[in-house]
Symmetry: C3
Subunit: 679 residues, 3 copies
């Protein structure tokens, strides 16, 4: 099972008519028509509505909502509505709420508030999903099931502690294996009974918060357990849905690079991926591109839904800037460029009260259609209508892979030493950014993915190496590909125990280096690195981590310029089989990272045709019919003119593009060129 | 009932002889005589002294203290001493202590430590007040009752939860009304039983502290409930006092702009207002002026008492700077200029131990009279003696009102979006500062105050608009006055639900604008605004909030200069009836605010005669006999010379001042000019 | 009883073979041989190993570990291993874990996790020590007992509350005395039953953390109680050891300037002192020197052990820089220069997992001997071998004393007012630094120490003055010595109650000043101070605290240059008897402090021969035979050349040094010169 069938890119978003009297619905649909909105996500928080008391369900209002949506011709993504439990449930079963990291049992409030191990929550959430599916599965307007919402958080209650112990028993079998995995001889931690194991929290192994733990192995396992416990909640509901809806696809909305949940462990259980795009600021197109690529990588390159984005501004940040005119359109097309087959908003109508009332919406509190935001939404709706099915099902033809690994993320950031300022996302983003600047299509993949189709594999800060990964990376190089890894890679096994070998452990043979020791400094300290190949020389900055490398066969590509280790290797390349293994020992700045990545790409002729035009993003999708679509996205507030790399037709305007001739993109402008000769 | 009768400005402060052996008292009174101290506040923390055990009261020491004070000719402000409960009470009744925002039941310690809903606290605090009043009401030296002390804080215990539910039942009547007010359809929050309602805390609706809540309506009501619950404690004691003291005025000491308590809801229950002046730093004369004006506005312009100020320095800050020579005198006269009929210190003698031992005092640990601080206190005492009754009962003849609204303060600062950096006090202070710089007398008023006597009403960040306020503001303009409001006004109703109308909601007709959307940015981002009327043009900075305005009849006074909305209105003026309504859409800097306010004042001829002399404060009080007193206060460390606006006599020196002739104020100098021809 | 007997400086460190299979031990000893490691600390965390269940002890593995170490000829410092309790103990007796400052009972995790008042902890920890001592006391390889580890932290449970009440009853006898000591009349705090006393915590007297308390007296006593309660744990184990080991010395490893524990109260109970040197950064040689001097001062100048240092880097900091080549050697010799008779590392072999796996070790995860770090360790081992017993038992011939007082530290930093930014360690360090720069040997002493052997006594920020200290300081001056004290000295008595006298209270006669008032400012505010004696004038900066002094006989040495107190005294000197008393009223910068300290030293001819060579540390030890050893330590990364102050032989090279002739030290270089003519 895969994405819902569709004739065009879905357009619409979260819609909560249950918050409004029915006369308002009429106004909504009139405006939806104006904006060509064809898809609505219903019921994301309707548990209390559907089950107002322990012993009664009431679908009457939802019936009217669904009937109306269907009658108006909208496709429905129907939610199970279990991401916030009703007040009566918390009152009747206080154990349904979570215990936080500080050990405090919460009481009714907020959302994402249910203990994942609570039997009553698991029973009633599944029952609600079961009844919704049974009631609405037959409605042809319903095209997908939306389970829960933005799963996340953790619980530290006694039930979760028991769940953790069961999970550990499954994983380790014996206490001896557990003690060995967690290295419990250290600090007299040997467990002699499963019941002695406590969730790692502020009351047990942690200080200064979730990243400071006495036992990395325990904390790492609790992160995995929490991800699995929440996945079990998802699976409870999915199974209940399947009882009466065997064929409709099921999803839940992810949040891009979200540390608490290992989306790679979840992905096989979703029929299609979807995510909510709220970037950290308004100048991070590469960050969004990485997130899109990560989400697309969850289902082996299959298209996904952009489940949420704001049409204008968020409300949850300290400061919530407004999307400039054209930006919402640009970012919507960016999603499509990276594989989105639907573009949806949170929210279609702004709530009257509570914490999201100032979150941007297609329809504001005054219900107007003559606002700038509504006009831009309607214009995009019309544009997507015109595009039709041209992009549906298209795939990204990447020959470069970037490994993204929750285990390494967790292990790196909960580590004591060498440097807390090294952040997984920042390092990975820098390497992805180098690809983005080079105009290269890239798949962002789990460490378990097949690598045979890629010529280049980047594996920055691959702190934890497990399974046969090292062998598979070596194979990439052996057959002529390039593999790049960096400082703080190859350090620990799956239990976060150090490899009892030279650093970088299982990656040593591939990279041909031995890391003898390492220095760590604050960001104010810079060690210049001289990068040089036969052609080019450049001095860049390195910061935070400086590994001291003794080559074991690798050639030196970059050298430190300062300190007692001046002249020693900072970047190396090791011939390995028909290919090579690169090692970046220093915390290079973006310029340095990009220099190294270009060298790697260049060897394989993979630099894109629009490389180096600042903030001009380029990407390709190939349709099932073999049509090659080139997306060009100008992220600048100024126009840009470039020579077209190939001829074709811009699907947004119908205009011809001639190869080699100049093309011009407006500020925040977009082109979708169906390239000549494809298909 | 009003202020205690008096023949001069009261002078003295908090006095704790119970902390000292009686021989020290003798030294104290000798020094009080030297300093002309005529008023002492006794017993602010004497509960444990008066009731050393559950079943026994012991007034013997207080008898001696009161007798001695009376014998020495001092007027007594007698406290009920209930702001800290005794240790035995917390031990016997653990529920008397508070549960904090984090859900933790406290145990005995500190002060302001009683749960306002605790039955035993309410019973025993009232009983103590009852007994004190019964015992001392007949003593003619006792001139006022001082209930509690600096009321504040909140409790989140089960009893307060029950109290909150009762309060809600009174307010809303039905759960349907409650659910509607709180917009509970959002996030599945519908309450089906009053018992399901929880106080909004870190364990329920909040994250990142008291300002981040999932439900603004719930948090807003809990703020109101807390203010009311503490008021009930005050009223318990006041009622008990009234049993035997029907005629003596009752007060409690407020803390100026203190967010947790809505002083406007309390004010009707006080016979006179009093407050403790501890400004945030030593360079905020306008901030103190605003606080004085706010306190005077609590009782419709009636004079108040300055209940506490330090003669030298505080101890509770991280860094506690010393008041420079002359500053204590200057600030004391500033209080009188704004309506104070008493000038009191915390504290008369420094405590030996505990956390206030380094708080400044009239008498230090060595008991000397030859300290600089004592000499300045004594000089002020002599000066006040000479002044006699000249200022008593005088009122400020303001024609400008500034609205100050706790509901808007709360609603703004607990809002998610658009910008957490917008702080109510800062915006209000900027508009008040513009008036202060212009030398204009201003009344700071609740939104419920009669506005008929004012020509100009400023209502900055009036986020929440309730009752008939919008109509009354419109009336001000209709009859020829000017009303000014700003960005983020007119957004929500009394339940914090957005008005389902164009922004600024009920203020739209008056201001003649429609806010289509809004941008928010960090403080590093500046959008210049060009302000211009026919006469004057100036470019100023705006920050944080930028509303995009579509005029609906208003004329444009200021325009943005940058970004995609360059050229659109940032400040507007709308003719309305015989007057006008101003709207400031941008977060103008002080220069911009002052420019706009001057335009408004100028139209009404309200700019003061000493406007624009930097840091020279000017204010007027008019005595019951019609005598007009002009206060001039030089807040600079340098002398200042200006031309006198009117002739008169400086009451502090007896010197003549001639209109138009130069007058000179010393560094930190003060003049109190009885203007010619008045009365 | 004193230090373990030894033929050379002990060399080695913490060794945990229980974490490894026995084949690894073989590798370890081979490398220990290479590095000349002769001393191992065993079993610091072996409780769970030795007592795997409540009813069973198992020494079989420790037997093999000890046997092997003995067979390999190593001296053993054998730990009791009680700094972390086993998991089964926490599960069986939840009360064994601590309740933290926030009132939360912890569960099993981390280390330093036992409630010091827990009966079961006290019984079982003593029993473990008893059994270990009984089993291994007869083994001649065991040379010392290492009790617990890095004692610290506090507990706030009910048992500790009871313990505190007992401790108070012992200290005060009556509640009247308690109430008087704690000044409880303030804020109605009078205690009428011991049971009403609560530990001062976030739930009682504190806000904003451990330094903000409503009652300084209560918090001060809880700090003392906690120090004593942990000492009782140490004494439990020591007594148990003594049952079978009457003669072997007992220690525990301290942490230098560690605020929670008053090491001066502990010192009499240790047979020798030892400590772990982890300086705050890599550029603080004077800070380490102060710590060494403090530790040496614990046992009246007796040599100590450097129990831990890292050979390369820590892991517990946010950023963990690497020790540069030569630095580990330099710092090791610095320890010896200040009195260390052993130089030990944490750790000999790096742990595989958990939070210290990236802490530096002599042997890394790959088990290599060809790392830079191992080579430097081995070189130092060889050097120490060559030195033999030359330094053993040698003492520092100091004529200058610096008082270090935990009570003043605590009282100053928990004080409300005048300035939280004044930190005890910073001020004390500045005065010590002035001595260090001057090349002067100094003893850092408790306030109870005999002062008769010193010519100069520095007592900076001596906030709390108790006992006969003021008299003893006066005696120093009376007999011709110099005493220096500073701002914020002589303020409170042992209960933290202000002296009811002119500041500086009991130090007023000695210093000849009266402090009339004080100003406090943030660090951005500087008041220049002109320092001048007949010979020299310099203007320096002062910050944070500015006391206003009225001389009572003292001559003025420095004057403020700015503000209303410009021209008034900032530094004074009072002739007293045959000597003098100095008072530094201002928060002078290092230059100012050093200027004043030089004036004091100069009068007594105490400035060292290598003063003023930047970062060249000089110190002297005199052996029991009277041999005078001059240590020269170059803390710079550049070489330094100076003229030798005296002739002798460098023990590290055997080279002659001629007085007056140049000597050269390499970057980070060291000399140990046996001076001619000594002994």
């Amino acid at each position: 099972m895969s994405l819902p069938g569709a004739a065009k890119v879905g357009f619409g978003g979260d819609y909560n008519p249950e918050q409004w009297p029915e006369p308002v619905w009429h106004q909504d649909y009139r405006l939806f028509d104006l904006a060509r909105i064809d898809t609505v996500t219903l019921g994301v928080f309707h548990w209390a509505l559907l089950q107002p008391a322990p012993d009664g369900y009431d679908f009457s209002l939802l019936d009217r909502i669904v009937e109306r949506a269907a009658a108006e011709g909208r496709r429905i993504c129907l939610a199970t509505g279990t991401a916030a439990h009703p007040a009566w449930l918390a009152r009747a079963h206080p154990e349904v709420t979570r215990v936080d990291f500080e050990g405090r049992r919460h009481r009714f409030g907020q959302r994402h508030n249910s203990c994942p191990s609570s039997p009553v929550f698991r029973r009633l959430s599944a029952e609600l999903a079961r009844r919704i599916a049974a009631r609405y599965a037959g409605n042809p307007a319903v095209v997908a099931w939306h389970v829960g919402n933005e799963y996340g958080g953790a619980c530290y209650c006694e039930r979760c502690a028991d769940g953790f112990r069961d999970w550990l028993r499954d994983r380790y079998g014996t206490l001896d294996a557990l003690n060995d995995a967690w290295c419990t001889t250290f600090w007299s931690h040997t467990f002699t009974d499963w019941a002695q194991v406590e969730p790692p929290s502020a009351l047990t192994e942690h200080w200064r918060g979730p990243d400071h733990t006495a036992f990395q192995g325990i904390t790492l396992d609790y992160l995995r357990f929490t991800s699995d416990a929440l996945l079990a909640n998802f699976l409870d509901e999915k199974a209940a849905i399947r009882e009466s809806s065997p064929d409709l696809p099921v999803t839940t909305n992810f949040m891009g690079m979200y540390r608490p949940i290992d989306y790679h462990r979840w992905a096989p259980h979703l029929d299609f991926a979807s995510w909510d795009n709220y970037p950290p600021d308004d100048s991070s197109p590469a960050w969004m591109a990485l997130s899109h690529d990560l989400i697309r990588g969850l289902k082996d390159g299959q298209p996904f839904w952009l489940m949420e984005q704001t049409p204008s501004h968020t409300a949850c940040r300290d400061v919530n800037p407004l999307k400039r005119p054209g930006v919402m359109r640009l970012w919507s097309w960016q999603a499509v460029a990276h594989g989105a087959d639907a573009v949806l908003f949170f929210q279609l109508r702004a709530a009257r009260g509570a914490c999201e009332k100032y979150h941007g919406a297609v329809i504001g509190h005054a219900g107007r259609s003559d606002t700038r935001v509504f006009r831009e939404v309607a214009a995009l709706g019309a544009e997507l209508d015109r595009l039709g099915d041209a992009t549906l099902g298209a795939r990204t033809p990447a020959r470069v892979a970037l490994l993204f690994d929750w285990d390494s993320w967790w292990a790196l950031e909960i580590s004591d030493g060498p440097n807390r300022l090294v952040r997984y996302q920042q390092v990975v983003s820098a390497y992805h950014r180098a690809l983005w600047d080079a105009g290269v299509d890239v798949d962002v993949l789990p460490v378990t993915a097949a690598l045979s189709r890629y010529q280049v594999v980047l594996a920055p800060v691959l702190h934890l190496v497990k399974g046969d990964l090292a062998d598979r990376l070596a194979e990439v190089a052996a057959r002529g590909g390039s593999v790049l890894t960096t400082f703080l890679s190859g350090r620990v096994d799956e239990h976060d125990n150090a490899f009892l070998a030279d650093v970088p452990g299982p990656l040593a043979a591939l990279t041909g280096v031995r890391v003898d020791e390492w220095d760590a400094r604050g960001p104010e300290f810079v060690n210049p690195v001289l990068l040089a190949d036969g052609v080019d020389r450049v001095e860049v900055a390195s910061r935070l981590v400086f590994e001291l490398v003794i080559p074991q066969g690798a050639e030196v590509v970059g050298r430190y310029r300062a300190d007692f280790y001046a002249g020693t290797p900072a970047v190396t390349r090791n011939r390995f089989g028909a290919g090579d293994g690169w090692y970046v020992a220093a915390g290079l700045d973006q310029e340095g990272v990009s220099w190294v990545v270009r060298r790697v790409l260049d060897r394989h002729g993979l630099i894109g045709p629009y490389a180096d035009v600042p903030e001009l993003e380029s990407g390709v999708r190939v349709t099932p019919d073999g049509v090659r679509l080139r997306f060009l996205l100008n992220h600048r507030a100024e126009p840009v003119e470039v020579a077209a790399a190939a001829g074709g037709v811009d699907l947004l305007t119908g205009d011809r593009v001639e190869g080699g001739q100049p093309i011009r993109l407006d500020p925040y402008g977009v082109m979708v060129v169906r390239e000549d000769g494809s298909a």
